[in-house]
């Protein structure tokens, strides 16, 4: 079924204004929602159950949301057209629709030159992270993570009663692979976020490969989960993906997502690679129909588009350079970002900075202990958004701001 572009935008006025109305509130801590146009417009509805579920606070009209490492442009025209086309199959399970979940898995395998048996899909890579924790940790097999890193594996491990060892990152913000390897013997799962969120730094392929060998020498049964959510944004020529390593080495999983550079955070599609035996075990934990039909169609439309990806990487790199230069001129240290966010030593608490920015409708990242007293995580929006945001940062931080012309 093909739906015309005209149809796409007719009859939607009412829905559009309704949608806007519902995005005018955001939580401001303790589950209380505050009208986004000012704290005096308090909606004051308590929705802790929604926030508990992990849903992200919405940006209201006119707000710059650089708090969740999203792609400000979305997935692009080809994905929108693919979804438009796919709406006629919304009634079919994602296994029955065309393209199906299986088609997406096969396409990902083909593009990466691996077998479909090496690939598993997820409702975002978040589902894969959770499933790894469930499949591979237990009360007797602990999780090795880092401090700080993406928090979700730690949360699920705690629920299962699995111990968590999370060595602090090195002074340059990079994962302390030495300390993590030392904590790995008899573990069930080792979580390596590379590039790391929130510190934005990477370890190169050689270091990752040596780390895997070292962990497996002591504990061959420990599964090493390498989360490459930000892989497409990396510009360091030293970096290569660990997919090849994962295919060849049992008990290594590499996860990827469509939520970042592909611009599909709202559509919930992720995937992972591994040895066929490891993936077979992991698949047992997958939700029955974890990827929705619209996400599958959009992913099929963008997954092989290298031109679009190169454009997105350059766009992000340029807007990031502008932002990093602002902080460096202000004398603030920024870690070497290989992602679509930066981690900056602002010399004051993240909460204070966040509240100050929010006063000016700029939303920045959450606390990342133990750096919450000094560091902020700031996602990279469009260059225009970053121009406006750095004006706000200058005012909040009380520093001089010589704006660089957007080019």
């Amino acid at each position: 079924m093909s739906l015309s572009r005209r149809a796409l935008f007719t009859g939607s006025t009412r829905s559009r204004s309704e949608a806007l109305a519902t995005t005018r509130a955001r939580p401001a801590g303790a589950g209380v929602w505050i009208g986004a146009r000012g704290r005096e417009e308090a909606v004051a509805v308590s929705w802790p159950h929604v926030l508990e579920a992990g849903f992200v606070q919405p940006a209201a009209e006119g707000e710059i949301r650089i708090s969740s490492n999203e792609n400000p442009l979305g997935p692009g025209r080809a994905a929108v057209d693919a979804i438009d086309e796919q709406l006629g199959q919304a009634g079919l399970y994602p296994t029955n629709a065309e393209p199906s979940m299986g088609d997406l898995r096969d396409r990902i395998a083909e593009l990466n030159d691996v077998d479909p048996g090496n690939v598993v899909l997820g409702a975002g890579s978040g589902e894969i992270l959770k499933n790894c924790v469930q499949a591979f940790t237990s009360e007797s097999r602990h999780l090795v993570s880092a401090t700080p890193t993406y928090e979700s594996p730690r949360r699920f491990a705690a629920y299962l009663g699995a111990r968590v060892e999370a060595p602090r990152v090195s002074s340059d913000g990079r994962l302390d692979l030495e300390a993590m390897a030392a904590a790995a013997p008899s573990s069930g799962l080792v979580f390596v976020c590379n590039p790391n969120n929130p510190t934005s730094t990477i370890h190169n392929a050689e270091a990752i490969s040596a780390f895997v060998a070292r962990v497996h020498e002591a504990s061959p049964e420990a599964v090493i989960l390498i989360d490459e959510a930000y892989h497409e944004y990396v510009t360091d020529p030293d970096h290569t993906s660990a997919i090849g390593l994962a295919i060849e080495t049992p008990n290594v999983v590499v996860s990827r997502t469509f939520s970042k550079a592909f611009g599909m955070a709202g559509l919930r599609v992720g995937y992972a690679f591994g040895h066929v035996d490891t993936i077979r075990e992991l698949r047992r934990y997958s939700l029955l129909f974890n990827t929705n039909g619209m996400g599958v169609a959009a992913a099929m439309a963008v997954v092989g588009d290298e031109v679009r990806m190169e454009r997105e990487r350059q766009r992000n790199t340029e807007a990031k350079r502008h932002t990093v230069e602002f902080f460096e001129r202000a004398g603030m240290q920024v870690s070497d970002s290989q992602t679509n966010f930066i981690f900056v030593d602002i010399g004051r608490s993240a909460a204070e900075f966040r509240d100050g920015c929010a006063e000016h409708n700029v939303l920045v990242g959450r606390d990342f202990p133990p750096f919450e007293a000094s560091h902020a995580r700031i996602s990279i929006g469009t260059l225009e958004e970053m121009n406006r945001a750095t004006d706000v940062f200058a005012s909040v931080l009380g520093v001089e701001h010589a704006r660089v012309a957007a080019g």
Binding site: V80, I83, G88, Q89, A90, G91, L92, Y93
Partner: protein
């Protein structure tokens, strides 16, 4: 029950593995493609049935040159998909694409939670969202059963909970249906002593049969009277298709009883199986226990918007129920006129005694490009589960069924 010799002494393992296998086959797309290939081989036979099964004509010449699309009557999907107002809302939510780049907002979830609370007359903190109701079934099984707290279910029934319990090593007690293919509520209540959770699918999949409101309430009282710590999970996936007036949703029970949870899905009457969204209703503390383990970012922004809109579109839901009832009536009449008995269906599928194995019937239908339901032990030797499509699709289907069953295609 003609021809159905049901061995009630056997306690069959739930068919979860089979479901998984079937899913994995479907995931590869093999099943669908095999059907298309089958059409190539038996294409002439399929084509002469015509799209609407209404005899030969010049149209059929054209049809024989392009294969008919396979008719999917195997997963209890809604053949029409979402209503037009819901599609408009999805298009608006997608806009020019940028909203798809943002994580599902709390506002989107709030919109759906408000709609679910509103149409069900409950407070918003009694609602929890999932990736279809299947994720909620899995979460509940994880949280409420344990290695020493078993799962109780009637068999056959929907396989998701036992499949998950089996995966995590939590024991399962399956209580066979009665001779009338009804839940053995006495047997299940007995089995529930010391259990972690009882799973009750009402109307039941695959039998399409219904428990009255009185029967469910009485069952809950008995189970909790015996053992107040048991959870009772009521899957009301087919709620919107029920026409029997003895039925009532148990949402009012779930909002007052911390041991009862009701799940609903948008995959059936709302026509959004591809969108992956459902919800559960229970008391806040019960839902909080589930949320502690639940993966919340499993639902997409378009589904949140669509589900809220679809819940509020009661007119479309009523139309869909009527449409299904009519197409089902046609199909049941066709089987009855050929001496094939079916259960009293309160869903968008029927469970019918074909007098042949489900496998043989499925293979025969496959030759005609029609997919029908999987095996449901212990009825796999005589019963088929057939989803209800549009009435035109059911005309095409019954023409094929006639050939497979060796009866005249004209009733």
């Amino acid at each position: 029950m003609s021809g159905a010799k049901v061995d009630t002494t056997k306690r069959p393992r739930p068919a979860a593995r089979e479901t998984e296998m079937e899913t994995s086959i479907l995931t590869t797309g093999l099943n669908r493609r095999a059907v298309l290939r089958g059409l190539g081989a038996g294409g002439a036979a399929a084509a002469t049935l015509g799209l609407h099964g209404c005899g030969a004509g010049s149209e059929n010449v054209a049809l024989s040159e392009e294969a008919l699309p396979p008719l999917l009557l195997h997963n209890n999907e809604n053949p029409l998909g979402p209503g037009s107002r819901t599609l408009d809302v999805m298009r608006a939510a997608l806009g020019e694409g940028a909203p798809a780049g943002r994580y599902p907002f709390a506002a989107g979830a709030r919109d759906l939670i408000e709609a679910a609370a509103e149409v069900n007359g409950v407070a918003t903190d009694h609602v929890m969202i999932g990736n279809g109701s299947t994720q909620l079934l899995r979460t509940a099984t994880h949280v409420f059963t344990a290695p020493d707290k078993h799962l109780v279910m009637g068999a056959p029934s929907y396989e998701e909970c036992p499949g998950y319990a089996d995966l995590v090593g939590h024991p399962i007690v399956s209580v066979p249906l009665t001779d009338n293919m009804q839940f053995d509520l006495d047997g299940m209540a007995e089995a529930a002593k010391g259990a972690g959770m009882v799973f009750l699918c009402n109307p039941n999949n695959p039998t399409a049969a219904l428990l009255s409101a009185d029967a469910v309430v009485g069952f809950v009282e008995t189970v909790l009277g015996n053992d107040p710590d048991v959870m009772i999970f009521l899957d009301e996936a087919y709620h919107d298709y029920v026409t029997d007036s003895s039925y009532a949703s148990q949402i009012p029970l779930a909002v007052n009883n911390p041991r009862v949870v009701v799940s609903r899905t948008f995959s059936k009457a709302h026509g959004m199986a591809g969108m992956r969204i459902g919800y559960a209703i229970g008391v806040p503390d019960t839902l909080r226990r589930m949320r502690n383990w639940h993966y919340g970012m499993s639902v997409n922004v378009l589904a949140l918007a669509a589900a809220a809109a679809s819940l509020r579109d009661e007119e479309r839901l009523a139309e869909e129920r009527d449409r299904n009832t009519e197409a089902k009536r046609y199909t049941l009449d066709w089987f009855a006129s050929h001496g094939h008995e079916a259960t009293d269906s309160q869903t968008n599928f029927i469970f019918v005694n074909t007098g042949m194995t489900a496998a043989a019937f499925r293979a025969g239908c496959g030759e005609h490009g029609i997919l029908v339901g999987r095996n449901f032990p212990p009825y796999e030797n005589s019963y088929a589960r057939i989803s209800i499509g549009t009435i035109d699709q059911m005309r095409r289907a019954t023409a094929a069924f006639g050939e497979v069953l060796g009866v005249s295609a004209v009733a």
